[in-house]
Amino acid sequence: MAKYLLLKHYRGAPAAVNDVPMDRWKPDEVEAHMGFMHDFAARLERDGELVDGQALSPDGVWVRYDGEGRPPVTDGPFAETKDLIAGWYVIDVDSYERAIELAGELSAAPGAGGAPIHEWLEVRPFLTAPPTVTQ
């Protein structure tokens, strides 16, 4: 088994094929999308492949240490050019191919006009613990 992170972006990913802001969709298209997302999460869990799924607020700041006895420096809100993560799934699957397959399914979530969004998702393998057998 191997763990992968499926990463969804608010911005910073290449443009989706069906790239229309959600508030411009028809109400039944919004419903269809939400139903799909709900089912996708439920299916991952049922199939024993879900580790975690979380969504992030678009708000946030940069923070860094500013020296002894000083409060940390913050820099925000983020610049419009910053790559912005929207959320993720962590999945535990048998193979790289399975991770790609699942990301593909998630990217097919219905959007405007009921057509798939074709959103670009980032797939990132986790670094694992060293194996017991090394040769």
């Binding site: 508030d23 411009r24 028809k26 298209e29 939400m34 709900h38 708000d59």
Partner: protein, 393 residues
């Protein structure tokens, strides 16, 4: 027969109080009571003892002695306690109250006070608390043992008071329902228990507030988790027994004439519960209660909710005027602004504000709800033809 988990946990504070009164230190006594509760679940599976509390006290006391002995052996100390427990003092209402105060110690951060209260007063296991708050069990275990160390060190002489306890219980209630522990129900149980040992009107106000909100729980969300706003809720689903009890408790508290923020909030909840149809809501009186509430809790959240009530009582423009004085950064401000502008016929502006509200929503259910609102209005505007027809200004 099977053991009633809640019935068992109800005995926890009394048992812990007895141990502490016998001279046991709080942290170890609390572990011993947990041990006794876990043993009871197994031992009572077949037969429940004639006197469950006495059984728990005996087992907890033995567990406490075992823990101190092994502690003492490790540190090469004398055993400080007799093997035979002294004649058991009957725990009084004051003991239970004291336990609540201890767990809401002012030196504890709110997250720690919440966890300790749920374990020591609520009798929940660390695992149950961890699952309810979606954190790993070792994290919750550390949080609780750290809290116990702080309480033990800070001493029992400077515990919290009923106001810190109420804040803790309110936090638990607001956490709602996630996973296998119903925190809202647990908060109600603990507040009931607290109300039984104190006549502070605010405690009764808090209990009434919880009951009145809990009565609407079924109607607040759809099976898929999506939000149903108050105006669209199926009022036939509201729990009339809980509402009647909540209103009785609120009225009795208010009759004492020592108003506070929880009683004022309970009064507002009672006015909503009283309306069998949304059109029957007495918004004028609700605004008056918000004005009272502001005297005790002048917060942006209260001002925001007051603006909604003003919008219903005196019209959208009055609501928007009330909203103008509310801090821009308070969560859900965009959502309220969107609602009031829609009510005022400014549909394009309202749609944009709903989209903003979705972007700034504090949770996914609200984000989805605001996105639906924006989509609904945008579709409506498209059907109207030109968005320029709206009155914007």
């Amino acid at each position: 027969m099977t053991v009633d988990d809640v019935e068992l946990r109800e005995l926890a504070p009394a048992v812990l109080s007895v141990l502490v009164r016998r001279g046991a230190d709080f942290a170890t006594a609390e572990d011993a009571v947990q041990e006794a509760l876990i043993r009871a679940l197994a031992a009572w599976e077949t037969t429940e003892p004639a006197d469950p509390k006495a059984w728990l006290i005996t087992v907890a006391w033995r567990a406490f002695l075992d823990m101190t002995r092994s502690d003492a052996a490790r540190r090469d100390r004398e055993v400080r306690f007799d093997t035979e427990p002294p004649a058991g003092a009957i725990p009084s209402a004051d003991d239970t109250l004291h336990l609540y105060f201890l767990c809401a110690h002012p030196d504890l951060a709110p997250t720690a006070a919440v966890a300790l209260t749920l374990r020591a007063v609520g009798g929940l296991t660390t695992r149950q608390i961890a699952r309810a708050y979606l954190v790993p069990e070792p994290t919750m275990a550390q949080r609780i043992s750290r809290a116990k160390r702080i309480v033990s060190r800070a001493g029992v002489e400077r515990p919290g008071d009923v106001h810190t306890v109420m804040r803790v219980l309110y936090l638990v209630f607001n956490e709602g329902y996630s996973g296998d522990v119903d925190l809202a129900a647990e908060a109600i149980r603990l507040t009931r228990q607290l109300a039984a040992v104190t006549d502070e009107p605010e405690v009764h106000g808090l209990l009434a507030l919880m009951l009145l909100h809990h009565a609407r729980r079924e109607s607040r969300t759809r099976p898929d988790g999506s939000i149903v706003p108050l105006s669209d809720q199926d009022r036939g689903q509201w729990d009339t027994v809980l509402i009647a009890e909540g209103i009785d408790i609120a009225q009795a508290a208010l009759a004492r004439d020592q108003l506070g923020e929880y009683q004022a909030q309970a009064a507002i909840a009672a006015l909503h519960a009283d309306a069998t149809r949304v059109e029957e809501t007495d918004w004028v009186q609700i605004v008056e209660w918000y004005d009272e509430l502001l005297r005790f809790a002048d917060t942006p959240v209260v001002r925001l909710n007051r603006a909604v009530a003003v919008g219903e009582a005196d019209g959208a423009l009055a609501g928007l005027a009330a909203l103008a004085g509310v801090d821009d950064h308070v969560p859900r401000r965009d959502a309220v602004a969107a609602y009031l502008h829609e009510k005022n016929g400014e549909l394009g502006l309202a749609a944009r504000l709903y989209a903003d509200a979705a972007r700034n929503a504090p949770n996914l259910a609200e984000r989805d709800h605001q996105t639906r609102q924006a989509a609904r209005l945008n579709q409506h505007l498209q059907q109207l033809g030109s968005p320029r027809r709206e009155r914007e200004g």
